[in-house]
């Protein structure tokens, strides 16, 4: 642009050169003088373009950086790492996966306290790397034997200067105690060694483990579903008896009938309970029969029963294809299983479920309310101080810290409304609360309040964008106000309303602080929607991915091991919100196509 301006200017000076002298002379001189003036940088606009462009680039870099980090760390977590053996000069040996490595500048006193060989190696390394040493955080597992999950190992401490990769190092993911690293020695059945030698033991394990896992799944199913159903039945009978007592008094005929029914249910279920417990015990005993004996790096042996093993693999032998299938199997466990080991392992299915259900319920609640409020403000209310005040308040509501909404939700929804509902409908269960505590419904309502301003503002803008000529056209056809709104204004504003909904969903799905007060919990034993009537349980507390991230990274005992899971869970949260948004955007595009405006 500036180059064009320059040519124009030079033309302007060139042209009058040929004109005859006289009255024009003055003009010529003036033009020449003006052309000498250097245009200021601001006037050219170039620096401002760079400034604004730079701002945009900065934003893009931050977004890409954030997403890049989360994606890289999140996708990396489940990729199987090799097991390295670190043999130290002090005789200690560690087997484990390197979780991260770093350079550090050692204190001078560190070298003095080392034994001579190591100090020599350290000095050599420092000379080579500008005074820095390298150390690794190794996940050594075997917590039951060593009481440690991780160890720091420095390069100079190594016997050969390099870690080695033992051929038969096996990684075992267990139901409890975290990972185990060791070498298979023997396969046991009922305590007797049946096979020895790493190869043979491993083959035997691979043959037996799937059967064991099937049994385990069956056991889990019995524990969670069948047991829950029985429990529910007994609980129901007890509640009915208690209700009869509350309604008609102790020893009334109704109470006696309910009491008899409850006793009968208890009798019936007692047998079923016993059967179930027996079956579960039998499965557990069967799974405990077989075990693998492993030797750790330090020569200790441990026997791990096959029932305990979730997944095992010889880390240094697996082919790329095996690695991919391990990776896929870990992801599928992550997405479909329940968490174990204080949430730091296993899956996050309940959290995914809770997040999605809560977001959807929240949207269902907030959109109608927000749209109705905006309709009144824009279409019916007469402009004035009152309306302006309301509008300003709504805008301010969007700036209220979310935890405030959480406190309000807890105080108003849970304690006041929920408490009243408990008194009225669930008196039999008192003093343990049904609705009088945090739960899915209250969390959704709280977030609906939180996101209400977003929906109202977006809807108002969309309504304002509907041309008045359309309203007039409709009125002129003899339509009433509501008919005009319903048939002309709302359809036309729908894409804008959807945009508001998308924004509200994005805001609500990622909100954590208020949820901690009104229903999100570390571990929810039951999903809010299940097979037990009435199937939807809005009073239950639930798990939420956002809260799960916080809990994993900062509240678990083994937080170093959980850190990679933080990234993976974050990745999942981003993907879920993106998915929900994409669904809403798809819906909006469909609506917009219907009302495509290509005037003239």
């Amino acid at each position: 642009m500036s180059s064009r301006a320059v040519t124009t200017r030079s033309e302007a000076t060139a042209r009058p050169a040929g004109t005859p002298p006289g009255r024009l002379d003055h003009g010529v001189r003036q033009r020449t003088r003006r052309s000498r003036v250097v245009t200021s940088m601001l006037a050219q606009g170039e620096p401002l373009m760079w400034l604004t462009g730079g701002g945009l680039v900065l934003c893009c870099v931050m977004i890409v950086g954030l997403l890049g980090l989360v994606f890289y760390e999140g996708f990396r977590t489940f990729w199987p790492q090799p097991v390295e053996s670190f043999e130290l000069v002090d005789g200690q040996t560690y087997w484990g996966e390197v979780s991260r490595s770093e350079e550090f500048s050692p204190e001078p006193s560190l070298l003095e306290n080392l034994d001579p060989a190591a100090a020599e190696a350290a000095r050599a390394e420092m000379a080579e790397h500008e005074g820095e040493l390298r150390r690794h955080l190794v996940r050594t597992g075997n917590f039951d034997l060593t009481s440690e999950h991780f160890n720091w190992v420095s390069d100079y401490e190594l016997v050969d200067g390099q870690p080695t990769r033992p051929e038969w190092a096996i990684v075992i993911e267990r139901l409890s105690w975290g990972r185990f690293y060791g070498q298979p020695v023997a396969f046991l059945e009922d305590g007797d060694v049946v096979v020895e030698g790493a190869d043979a033991v491993w083959d035997r394990y691979r043959a037996e483990h799937p059967v064991v896992r099937d049994r385990y799944d069956r056991m889990r199913h019995l524990e969670t579903h069948a047991m829950a159903r029985l429990n529910h039945r007994v609980e129901q009978a007890r509640l009915e008896r208690r209700q009869a007592e509350l309604d008609h008094g102790l020893d009334s005929p109704e109470w006696r009938a309910a009491d008899a029914a409850a006793r009968q249910v208890e009798e019936e279920t007692a047998q079923q309970f016993a059967d179930l417990t027996d079956e579960i015990e039998a499965l557990r005993a069967e799974n405990a029969r077989q075990a693998m004996r492993l030797e750790t790096a330090t020569g200790q042996t441990a026997e791990i029963s096959l029932g305990e093993i979730v997944r095992a693999y010889p880390a240094n032998q697996v082919s790329t294809w095996d690695k991919i299938s391990l990776y896929a199997s870990r992801w599928s466990e992550f997405l479909t299983d329940e968490p174990r080991e204080a949430n730091s392992e296993g899956g996050v299915y309940p959290a995914i479920f809770g997040t999605v259900v809560m977001t959807l319920i929240m949207s269902l609640l907030v959109v109608p309310f927000g749209v109705l409020a905006a309709l009144y403000l824009r279409e019916y209310a007469k402009a004035g101080t009152m309306v302006s005040a309301v509008r300003i308040s709504i805008n301010n509501l969007a700036g209220v810290p979310s935890i405030v909404f959480g406190v309000f939700g807890l105080g108003f929804f849970s304690y006041i409304i929920g408490g009243a509902m408990d008194q009225a409908f669930f008196a039999a269960k008192l003093p343990s609360p049904t609705y009088g505590t945090g739960g899915l419904l209250w969390a959704s309502l709280t977030l609906a309040l939180l996101t209400l301003p977003v929906v109202i503002v977006a809807t108002e803008e969309a309504l304002a964008a509907v041309p008045n000529s359309m309203r007039e056209g409709s009125y002129a056809c003899g339509a009433s106000k509501w008919q005009t709104i319903q048939r002309i204004v709302l359809p036309r504003a729908m894409p804008g309303i959807m945009t508001g909904t998308i924004l509200a969903m994005a805001r609500g799905a990622g909100e954590v602080a208020p949820l901690m007060l009104v229903g999100a919990v570390k571990l929810a034993p039951e999903l809010p929607i299940d097979g037990i009537p009435p199937f939807i349980h809005p009073e239950r507390s639930f798990m939420h991915l956002g809260f799960h991230i916080y809990d994993l990274g900062f509240q678990s005992q083994n937080s170093e091991a959980a850190k990679p899971m933080v990234f993976t869970t974050t990745l999942l949260l981003i993907l879920i919100i993106t998915g929900l948004n994409l669904a809403a955007i798809w819906l909006r595009t469909r609506l917009r196509r219907k009302f495509v405006a290509n005037q003239f």
Partner: protein
């Protein structure tokens, strides 16, 4: 609009004062009559005798209208003949559109509007206490300056007045749609794509669609507010042809800025100035032999 009026009012008012008094007395001389109006005098409109012979579909009776404190219409009294095209002409801000929008009470939507007087549609009061505005608007059709098709299919646009009336019979709707589109000379062009969005049509087509919508419910009066002002000459001539075709079948009241258009399409023409009706008569007479010099001056482009 009121702003415009105010500025245009000031200068003649000052000149009128400079020129002396004698408002009503100067009726014969063009300039001074306009000056008198600008100064606020009441002047009898010149309504040609031919109009008395016509059967009026709409009778405007001493109609006054204020936007807040500003009066926009002064004592308008005029009949609108049945089955004829009546054009309203006059300079910007003279109240033509306001008058037109008062007929179907669209001005009710503006909070500050206050009226006096009444209109009769086929003998029924428009501004009476017990009048159902919605019912009233259903008896009229209106075409706006800028085409305003609704964000729905062509078919739904045309049958909109019936839809809001609760008509659900598909056959009736189809029939009305076809009749209206034929009536607005659009049927040939769109009969194969009735389900398409109306917003995908050209500007001229959109305006004819709006006419089709306006005549779908068989209105007693068809109101047109500068229907061609946003169209190119070809689309304009199509609309004009259409108006000529609709003459006789419908009573049309049309506001236009285009003098040639008024002379081409209308049977009667009313000239308005600063919220007052000045002269009203058969178009041919108004354009060739007006009674008043002001009318002639406006038509020949000497002011306005």
């Amino acid at each position: 609009m009121s702003q415009q009026k105010e500025t245009s009012m000031e200068q003649p008012a000052m000149r009128a004062e400079a020129g002396g008094q004698g408002h009503a007395a100067a009726a014969g001389k063009g300039e001074s009559r306009l000056e008198a109006i600008a100064a606020g005098a009441t002047i009898e409109a010149d309504i040609h005798p031919e109009l008395r012979a016509e059967d009026a579909v709409l009778e405007i009776q001493d109609f006054n209208l204020w936007y807040g404190d500003k009066q926009a219409l002064y004592d308008i009294a005029m009949p609108v003949p049945r089955g004829k095209v009546t054009a309203l002409i006059g300079p910007s801000g003279c109240g033509k559109s306001t008058l037109l929008r008062s007929v179907n009470r669209l001005n009710d939507l503006i909070d500050s509007v206050r009226i006096e007087g009444d209109m009769l549609l086929n003998g029924d009061s428009i501004y009476g206490r017990s009048v159902d505005v919605i019912e009233l608007r259903r008896r009229m059709g209106m075409v706006f300056q800028k085409s305003n098709p609704f964000p729905m299919s062509i078919f739904e646009n045309v049958v909109y007045p019936l839809r809001i009336d609760g008509e659900g019979n598909r056959n009736v709707l189809k029939e009305v749609c076809e009749r209206s589109l034929k009536g607005s000379a659009l049927w040939e062009e769109v009969q194969d794509r009735l389900g398409d969005s109306a917003l995908g049509m050209s500007g001229g087509q959109q305006q004819r669609l709006c006419i089709a919508r306006a005549i779908a419910a068989e209105p007693e009066v068809l109101l047109m507010d500068e229907p061609c002002s946003a169209l190119d000459p070809i689309a304009t001539s199509k609309i004009e042809e259409l108006i000529t075709d609709l003459r006789g079948e419908y009573s049309i009241l049309i506001v236009t800025h285009n003098m040639q258009q008024a002379s081409r399409v209308s049977d009667y023409t009313a000239f308005m100035y600063l919220g007052r009706l000045i002269e009203y008569g058969p178009t041919a007479e108004i354009f060739t032999n007006p009674h008043l010099k002001e009318t002639e001056d406006y038509i020949t482009g000497r002011f306005g």
